[in-house]
């Protein structure tokens, strides 16, 4: 009996260490293994910060949110979190200074520096383009944080909301998601998360399908003005740009149905990076309200992020 007790006592630390170890496969197909659930996570993309805060974990470092330092919908919770550069230009020095035990990163901007990231902390690369990517990234990150159940709940709540809205949405409309400050607007393909959300509201994305894609790229294309005129969307969502959009001064602009009906909206930066659980929910609810204002209410949003009618 004594021998058995001693054996169990000796093995206990080993067993608990095995139980605490976590692992998951990232979007590169690489198995990321941690000896214990991550506690000090650096986020390269807004997704990481969004998810961590949704799970009640404060990130140790974040990257810029487009042209802004931090997203306003998370800003209160990120006050003293250092910004370590942009998604494509991360300061490795600053990253190493915060001593992360995991780096959650957007794949397309960081994969080429995977080794450097791995030297600092285990590196996980996430595609973060489609709705599936978002759902998978939430589960993946939940596993590495040792919070599978919470992550699963986030995904279940969101997919339930999608189903619920889809049932209520009347449909029969089309919408375009346009971005750029130049003369030819860039529009997103159906597989881009924000465009994909349109289909859950029974709305056709005029950007259309992409026949062949590699890791979800390209996200879209510069649409010909003749095509835009033919597609003539009922609603246009204009993504953030820090310049006056030259294509809205093109001769065809006043002829578009959405423009004539006053259904052109400037939307917040979070529409471009909507993979996080909070962002995707806010985008979807706001999109639903703008498309069907009588059916769906406007979600609560910081004023700086609220969509506005474009004049």
């Amino acid at each position: 009996m004594k021998i058995i007790f001693c054996l169990v006592a000796c093995c206990l630390p080993l067993i608990s260490a095995t139980a605490a170890a976590v692992s998951a496969t990232d979007d590169r197909g690489v198995r990321v293994e941690l000896k214990q659930p991550a506690e000090r996570v650096a986020s390269i993309s807004t997704f990481g910060a969004d998810l961590l805060l949704a799970l009640g974990v404060k990130p140790v470092a974040v990257t810029q949110f487009g042209p802004f330092a931090k997203p306003d919908y998370l800003a209160d919770q990120l006050v003293d979190v250092p910004v370590i550069g942009s998604r494509s230009q991360v300061s490795m020095e600053m990253l190493s200074e915060v001593s992360p035990d995991l780096t959650l990163a957007i794949r397309r901007y960081t994969e080429q520096n995977a080794e450097k990231f791995n030297d600092i902390a285990p590196y996980a690369a996430l595609n973060l383009i489609t709705l599936d990517d978002s759902l998978r990234a939430v589960s993946f990150s939940g596993a590495l944080l040792g919070r599978d159940a919470d992550a699963r709940a986030l995904n279940q709540d969101f997919t339930a909301m999608l189903e619920q809205y889809k049932k209520k949405a009347p449909g029969g409309l089309s919408a375009a998601l346009l971005v750029t400050g130049g003369e030819v607007p860039f529009t997103y393909h159906d597989h881009f998360l924000t465009a994909q959300l349109l289909s859950w509201l029974n709305v056709k994305n005029t950007g259309g399908k992409l026949s062949t894609q590699v890791q979800g790229l390209p996200l879209g294309y510069r649409v010909r003005l003749e095509n835009l005129l033919q597609q003539d969307p009922d609603i246009i969502f204009l993504f953030q740009t820090n310049k006056e959009r030259a294509f809205t001064q093109s001769p065809i602009w006043p002829y578009l149905k959405a423009v004539q009906a006053g259904r052109v909206y400037e939307v917040g930066q979070h529409w471009k990076e909507a993979a996080g659980p909070t962002a995707r929910s806010l985008v979807f609810k706001e999109m639903a309200h703008r498309i069907y204002p009588d059916i769906f209410p406007m979600p609560t949003l910081p004023e700086s992020m609220r969509s506005k009618r474009y004049k």
Partner: protein, 330 residues
């Protein structure tokens, strides 16, 4: 001397140049037949077709014509007065100067596209002025102009690359602009820029007689009582201004200024009074043809005009060099 064979060729090219604009009006996302075009001109026609015709295709064709004519004429002027068959508007630093100014102002101050004409023209003029200042030594020496132009271009390109790295979200738009093209341009851009293109273009053509003298040896020009250096400077300035206007309208579209004078020399001698106007005509036709290829509805997105021109121009130039090498011309 204009041979019968060359007359036929010239007639063919003139006819082609007249047909290309019509073809250009027809080709696009929706193909318009000649009957559609006639109805759109004479009557109201279909709403979408009407907008496409009047608001998109017509201004676009005019822009392609102006840009092609300006770059080709500037190329002819440059090659003529420098007596260098490889001279082109790019070598005066103007193309790089215009592009550089737009990239810098967009990166630093996020200027809107409506300011591109002013930025592009001022950048082109500053770069051109610097080139001339560097090249001036007791007059304007053609070889020095080219060397100074290459140096100024290099500085502009290096600066532009540096700013592009830090331009963040604007980089995609700037790369698209730098690929050259007239997609999305319309009446507004034409109104803002046409004077900068058309006035020096017409002046160059009106002053053809003086240009012909500059093609001769300097001593002959001086013996005819022509202030060679002054006229060379005037023609260079005209070439610089029309190039800056063209780059502002269409971005840096290469090869037109280099290739077209080689084509027109096969049809007419440089000394002909019709040579510069022929450059303008062929330049317009070539750029319009390239623009038709750029907007063929094969891909969802248009191919940048600069890319199409390079794909046409580079092999053609290599073929020309090979041919001249065989015939002992090089």
């Amino acid at each position: 001397m204009i041979t019968v064979h060359n007359k036929k060729r010239a007639l063919f090219i003139v006819t082609l140049s007249a047909l290309i604009p019509v073809l250009s009006l027809m080709v696009g996302v929706e193909f318009l037949t000649p009957l559609d075009l006639w109805q759109l001109i004479t009557q109201e026609g279909d709403r979408v077709q009407r907008i496409v015709f009047w608001e998109l295709r017509l201004p676009r064709i005019l822009i392609a014509c102006f840009v092609g004519a300006a770059l080709a004429t500037a190329g002819g002027v440059m090659q003529g007065i420098t007596r260098n068959a490889l001279a082109s508007p790019d070598l005066t630093g103007v193309v790089a100067g215009s592009s550089c100014m737009i990239v810098i102002l967009t990166s630093l101050f996020s200027i809107d596209a409506q300011w591109f004409p002013l930025a592009g023209i001022s950048g082109g003029l500053i770069a051109g002025a610097l080139t001339f200042a560097l090249a001036w030594k007791n007059g304007l020496m053609p070889l020095r102009v080219i060397l100074a132009g290459v140096a100024i271009s290099s500085v502009c390109i290096a600066s532009m690359t540096g700013f592009l790295i830090f331009s963040g979200a604007e980089a995609g738009d700037l790369f698209f602009w730098l690929a050259g093209g007239i997609a999305g341009r319309g009446w507004m851009q034409l109104e803002q820029t046409f004077a900068w293109v058309l006035i020096p273009l017409f002046l160059s053509i009106l002053l053809t007689q003086r240009f012909r003298v500059l093609l001769l040896d300097d001593a002959i020009g001086q013996s005819l009582g022509i202030a060679v250096s002054l006229w060379r400077l005037i023609f260079m300035l005209l070439a610089v201004i029309m190039t800056a206007g063209a780059v502002t309208l269409a971005g840096p579209v290469g090869f037109v200024g280099l290739v077209v004078p080689h084509i027109t020399r096969k049809l007419l001698p440089e000394q002909s009074v019709l040579w510069l106007p022929l450059n303008a005509l062929v330049g317009s036709g070539l750029l319009l043809g390239a623009d038709i290829l750029a907007r063929l509805p094969i891909l969802a997105q248009e191919i940048p005009l600069g890319v199409v021109m390079s794909l046409i121009g580079a092999p053609w130039l290599l073929w020309l060099l090979k041919r001249q090498y065989r015939t002992g011309g090089v």
